[in-house]
């Protein structure tokens, strides 16, 4: 399993990417409900409506599924998934700087 969150835009225009590779079975069991809670089929993919000036754009991937969301639509389960992925990726990076 692989979850990738790419955040682009913002006034700084800096792209940040957070990747998590949960190990089966314990970790994947923990991530699966977070992924399943997101309405993947009801958001546009790449090329959806443009965001507001200087707000972030999120491109979220979980294995074969993908969604592109402007910051204002990053709510509910999407926000939970993104925040968990970012926290897990930053924690992993802190433990293994390389």
């Amino acid at each position: 399993m692989k979850i990738t969150v790419q955040r682009s835009g913002g006034v700084a225009g800096m792209q940040r990417t957070w990747t998590v590779r949960p190990e089966p079975p314990e970790d994947t069991d923990r991530w699966q409900p977070l992924i399943e809670a997101c309405p993947w089929d009801s958001v546009p993919g790449a090329g959806g409506s443009p965001g507001q000036p200087d707000r972030f754009m999120y491109s979220i991937r979980a294995d074969q599924r993908r969604a592109v969301l402007p910051e204002r639509d990053l709510t509910g389960p999407w926000r939970d998934l993104v925040e968990c992925a970012r926290a897990a990726a930053e924690q992993a990076a802190a433990q293994d700087p390389d």
Binding site: Q6, S8, G9, G10, V11, A12, G13, M14, Q15, A46, G47, P50, G51, Q52, P53, D54, R55, F56, M57, S59, V68
Partner: protein
């Protein structure tokens, strides 16, 4: 201080500066707009600006209205108290003394500097040209690495403390955000691909001008950096972007290297960031800086007049390309300063340098 009416003949600033003079001239040339012309204009321009233009025409006579100067700013700063609910609670209103909270006071001062540039250099009354009260919320969300204009007000985060500090620290960023409002009220540019990069570039141009005017820095003295001082000292970089040398603002182990191209030869095609709007903006940014450098003096004078006329003249379509924008700036330079003038030559030469065909 720069007063446009001293530098330009009356025909450019006929009586009042709320409406772009170019538009007023065109309107005045027509006794009555035909239905088709009116529909076309409504499609091109923000409707309130159009009505303002018509209202101005009917007010030509009263001497009190002629030469009217923009009103003083009407600012309110709100504290979002780390929540994402806007605007939050008012903490400083117009004319009130500093609060002692740096974010609040920097936002208040920054809105004032921005208002002053538009009033002094362009005779524009606030962001909408009609005295719009300026509102900003500080302390938005937690560890929020951003600042934005939400269509009605400005919003500032405090930064995460690792990469970014508070976003009110940079006057060019405050000016950048409010310029998104000016672009919006001027008819707008779609926030995607080249039109989006132009939208971004115009915000950088006017953001830099706000800072240069406040510091009274000439083109030669200015840093031409956007967002100087926002990074913490843990980051290898000086600013978010360099208008003078796009691609050189930062080069950091974690953040990577500033990805901005400095000419069409290295234009970036990407689906991220609405088609790279913060990346390819480096190309028109450098064009403006080249014009200012060629003309010398202060960028808020001739170079800014050309870009402002282009933005507010009503000729930009929502999907304007770099090429169309370049041609529009050349047309503005020709209209303001004459064909073959130093300004006209500087504009054409700048676009040639960044490989955009005029």
């Amino acid at each position: 201080m720069f007063f446009p009416h001293r530098f330009f003949p009356d025909r450019f600033f006929p009586h009042c500066s709320i409406v772009p003079p170019y538009l007023l001239r065109r309107l005045a040339a027509q006794d009555e707009l035909s239905g088709a012309a009116e529909a076309a204009r409504n499609a091109l321009l923000h409707v309130p600006a159009f009505h303002a233009a018509r209202a101005e025409l009917s007010l030509l006579a009263p001497p009190g209205v002629r030469g009217a100067t923009p009103a003083p700013p009407e600012r309110t700063i709100y504290d979002a108290r780390s929540l994402e609910k806007l605007p939050g609670s008012p903490v400083r209103k117009e004319g009130k003394p500093p609060t002692g909270d740096p974010a609040t006071d920097e936002a208040y001062d920054g809105l004032g500097h921005t208002h002053r540039l538009y009033a002094d250099a362009f005779g524009r009354d606030s962001i909408d040209g009609r005295g719009l009260p300026l509102e900003a919320s500080v302390h938005y969300s937690k560890r929020y690495d951003n600042a934005f204009w939400d269509g009605r007000q400005m919003v500032f985060g405090d930064g995460d403390g690792e990469v970014f500090g508070r976003f009110t620290k940079s006057l060019s960023v405050i000016g950048h955000e409010l310029a998104h409002g000016v672009t919006q009220y001027s008819g707008g540019l779609n926030y995607r691909n080249q039109a989006g990069a132009l939208n971004e570039s115009l915000s950088d141009v006017f953001g830099a001008l706000v800072e240069q005017y406040a510091k009274q820095q000439s083109t030669a003295e200015a840093s031409w950096l956007i967002g100087e001082g926002l990074f913490t000292d843990q980051v290898q970089g000086t600013a978010l972007r360099s208008m003078k040398a796009p691609g050189t603002a930062y080069d950091d182990d974690v953040l990577g290297k500033d990805p901005q191209p400095d000419s069409m030869d290295s234009y970036v095609r990407t689906s991220a960031d609405n088609g790279g709007v913060h990346i390819n903006s480096g190309i028109p940014n450098r064009a403006f800086c080249l014009v200012a450098t060629a003309l010398g003096g202060n960028a808020w004078e001739a170079p800014a007049q050309i870009w402002y006329q282009t933005l507010t003249g009503g000729t930009l379509s929502p999907n304007t390309t770099f090429g169309a924008f370049a041609r529009a700036t050349a047309a503005s330079a020709k209209e303001l300063f004459g064909a073959g003038s130093a300004a006209h030559d500087a504009v054409r030469s700048a676009w040639e340098t960044v490989k955009v065909k005029v």
